[in-house]
């Protein structure tokens, strides 16, 4: 399923900037193929819907480790592991502001 999502905040700058739109593709069977550097949108229980880069994929545990690219990004430990079921989709296209 394809979704259009608007980016707010700048933790993924310079790759994604506030106001950019991204297209995401959700295919749960493909989540295990996500690799470090891929960008995903997911729902976080505390911070809401977030967009981050994958740093580690653990198909056995069905979780991802993620981070932002900006020096001020929230530490990965604070975000915690992202369960596959919280993933909204992998970003496959960006529409720059």
């Amino acid at each position: 399923m394809i979704k259009i999502i608007k980016v707010t905040g700048s933790s993924l700058s310079p790759f994604f900037n506030p106001g950019d739109f991204v297209l995401t593709w959700r295919a749960p069977r493909q989540f295990r193929k996500l690799i470090p550097g891929d960008t995903v949108v997911f729902d976080h229980s505390v911070y809401g819907r977030m967009i981050k880069k994958v740093t580690l994929n653990n198909p056995a545990e069905r979780t991802l480790a993620v981070r932002g690219s900006h020096p001020d990004s929230l530490p990965a430990q604070k975000i915690g592991l992202v369960p596959y079921q919280n993933i909204i989709g992998k970003v496959f296209y960006r529409i720059r502001r």
């Binding site: 608007k6 905040g9 506030p18 739109f21 949108v41 967009i51 932002g68 502001r97």
Partner: protein, 166 residues
């Protein structure tokens, strides 16, 4: 060329947003925004009640006003929940919960009362929401070792609010 088109679609369909922020630890937390949201909820309930007492409910103006009051009540009940969730998730630590073991239950109660305020027009639920968020504010300021005082908000509905006594 694509961006203006997507922007136009966004204005119509309101695409969901994904945060790449929440990242700078600004340390600015204050339950006053949630307290004002809760007051707004009660204010909207009062306005709805006053309007419902009028005799001509068939007028278009009645429906227009009541719809606006409900929309604002919905919005601020949800905002109150959001503000409390941010403090709960970002500021409150395990040590705080150990010191104030009533905190998890209180936060849960605020979430439920916020929902009740959306589901109903009961002023009692609104007042309970204000009280619960005041209780939360008292604990929040105690954690920050800031004294508090209670005073009536200087605007309708004029309910008592916990303020930091600076």
């Amino acid at each position: 060329m694509l961006y203006p088109f997507i922007q136009f679609l966004d204005r119509t369909f309101h695409f969901s947003e994904a945060k790449a922020h929440c990242d700078v630890p600004c340390g600015i937390y204050d339950p006053i925004t949630a307290q004002i949201d809760a007051l707004t909820v009660v204010r909207m309930m009062d306005l709805m009640d006053a309007l419902a007492e009028g005799d001509d409910k068939s007028r278009l103006d009645f429906h227009n006003s009541i719809s606006r009051y409900i929309a604002v009540k919905e919005e601020h009940a949800e905002k109150a929940k959001h503000e409390i969730r941010v403090i709960w998730g970002d500021f409150i630590k395990d040590a705080h919960v150990e010191k104030y073991p009533q905190l998890p239950g209180l936060v849960h109660k605020i979430m439920q009362l916020g929902s009740k305020c959306r589901q109903t027009a009961s002023r009692d639920h609104g007042l309970a929401l204000v009280d619960a968020i005041n209780d939360f504010a008292e604990i929040f300021w105690a954690i920050k070792e800031v004294k508090t005082k209670k005073a009536k908000a200087p605007y309708a509905p004029g309910l008592e609010i916990v303020y930091p006594d600076l």
